[in-house]
Subunit: 370 residues, 2 copies
Amino acid sequence: MTTTGKQLFTTLAPDGKLTVEVAEAQFPDPTGNQVLVKMEAAPINPSDLALLLGQCDLDGAEYSAGKLVATMPEPFHSAMKGRHGQRLPVGNEGAGTVVATGDSDMAKALIGQRVACVPGSAYSQYALADASMCLPLGDVSAEDGASAFVNPMTALGFVENARMDGQRAIIHAAAASNLGQMLVKICDEDGMELVNIVRKQEQVDLLKSLGAQWVVNSSADDFLPKLMEAIAATDAYYGFDPIGGGTTVDACFKAMERVAVSKMTAYNRYGSNQAKRMFIYGRLDTGPTILTPSYGFGWTLSGWLLTPFLAQAGVETMNRMRKRVLANLTTTFASSYKRKVTLEQMLEKDAAIDYRAMRTGEKYLVTPWG
Amino acid sequence: MTTTGKQLFTTLAPDGKLTVEVAEAQFPDPTGNQVLVKMEAAPINPSDLALLLGQCDLDGAEYSAGKLVATMPEPFHSAMKGRHGQRLPVGNEGAGTVVATGDSDMAKALIGQRVACVPGSAYSQYALADASMCLPLGDVSAEDGASAFVNPMTALGFVENARMDGQRAIIHAAAASNLGQMLVKICDEDGMELVNIVRKQEQVDLLKSLGAQWVVNSSADDFLPKLMEAIAATDAYYGFDPIGGGTTVDACFKAMERVAVSKMTAYNRYGSNQAKRMFIYGRLDTGPTILTPSYGFGWTLSGWLLTPFLAQAGVETMNRMRKRVLANLTTTFASSYKRKVTLEQMLEKDAAIDYRAMRTGEKYLVTPWG
């Protein structure tokens, strides 16, 4: 027996045409540790967008009911050679009600419950999910629980990772995002110092209103000295950047090194011995990352993704993190949305252009049943 | 009592004037574990040049006997604020004869011996050096022993570091250098796979004549496919780049990721799980490092310097490395020089412009006694 429902698919043809469409799909009965979730809400996160739309030409695309067809420019088209011709589901996370389960006890225990889940196919009326990754929501609504995984676990992951590496302070860029606001609260709760970098005065005000102590505006003339002041006060030689392209990481390394050098008593041609560590965890700017030779050789820059981090941290740590998220879903880990859209509305021109811009505080929520 | 001799000093004034000059200097008697070395030969390595001349304007400089005065442009002038006004000695390494020692047994045992040393002031007729870092040269000449530290230990350090990190293959850029030629021999001796990146066909031929199996020409049209072929054959997801600026690191990460993706059976929007690691250990190109968003998030890039690596590796490893260098100074670890210059000749226009260009195979050797 199978269940039928509407689902969104994205297909990049070898000729460079990207087709994103809502179609009828068949959902097989769950087996083993699987559950079938009737999806009620799913956020559009930056981490969904690369697969959903990538850098396709939305202005010149053709739009029809429940369908968009656009051109994928180079070098993005060739870079995604691995997906050419494949019809792929999208949507990392969401929330809904378990309507069928596999045979495992863990799966069976979830029948009828509202859960947050991480199916990778959340833009759909139904999704098969792994019971071990489902979080029973109890009284929390599907909308409030839809973003229970990606942002909360990433923000918690930063603090966990920093602590594993012996750090007591973190820098965070694009810090006024939903995730950034969570991080302000987590760091406050955990006594981790946090230096927030934002782009606008209103974002400074927002984070200060949440209790953030150090907020630096990258658009201000005194950005670098203010960043240095915050680093000197907190010892934040460790940071996370979701922008990726441009000079955010470079500015952080530069400020870290200048603070470290100002504390040295003798000149060293190779710079300070202070280890400096940055992670890029997103690509809000898909341009190249620019690193100038102005902070010696004592620095390390890595990509950061949630899944490999959780694998490294282990099941026990992950379960502790998830419990904390569940207990604070409507407070520390609350998300806010600019607009709710159906599967079909996701593929309308204005909506697609708007949510792909990934502006701070303007996240979309998909409600597949309208 | 003190010894008198000629020494080279570099001074960057707060107004941006760089003065490099040969002057009479007093060398105090060595104490404790120090030895006084009558310096006979010292190489001009890329790692000396940042302090010696940096990016000063050599074309517009004033040259007189044993002296050069040049302008240091921005942003380099401000970036070196820590040295403004300080009269600094230069020259990481060299070789000569121990003419006086401190009271320690280790120091006293070296009296009268020819040694390689790492005084940090090697462009001088005399230098105070730490006995524990001196390598007695026996029958090896000062010229053959002058480069016994920086290049050999760095090349050996790459292989040690790779092994510590569980790697069996290395990528090396600008691989036709003195250091690169040593690395070809070391990797051959140690069974470490090596992918060499060079810029010219004649450098391909040179490294092949030394027995290198994988040599890729970055100027060739098929650079990327050839690099991928070499990575696929060797599993080299780990590499060292002395160029720093530009896209060398980016090309390596890109090729590594494409090889890793080609081995995957299912498409993953985040790229491969293959960890990719690169180190920048020099700045032959002082332009910015460019990293494009085309290899997912499973990569790490760090600066690499010999001194912190040796500190991390420990004394036992360092001593094992030094013994290997000494035993093979005229074979595996032999250096070659384009030209010998006196301290005064170092400061002549043609010489300074020539050695600062850091062209592969055109290293200078300083002989302070003429």
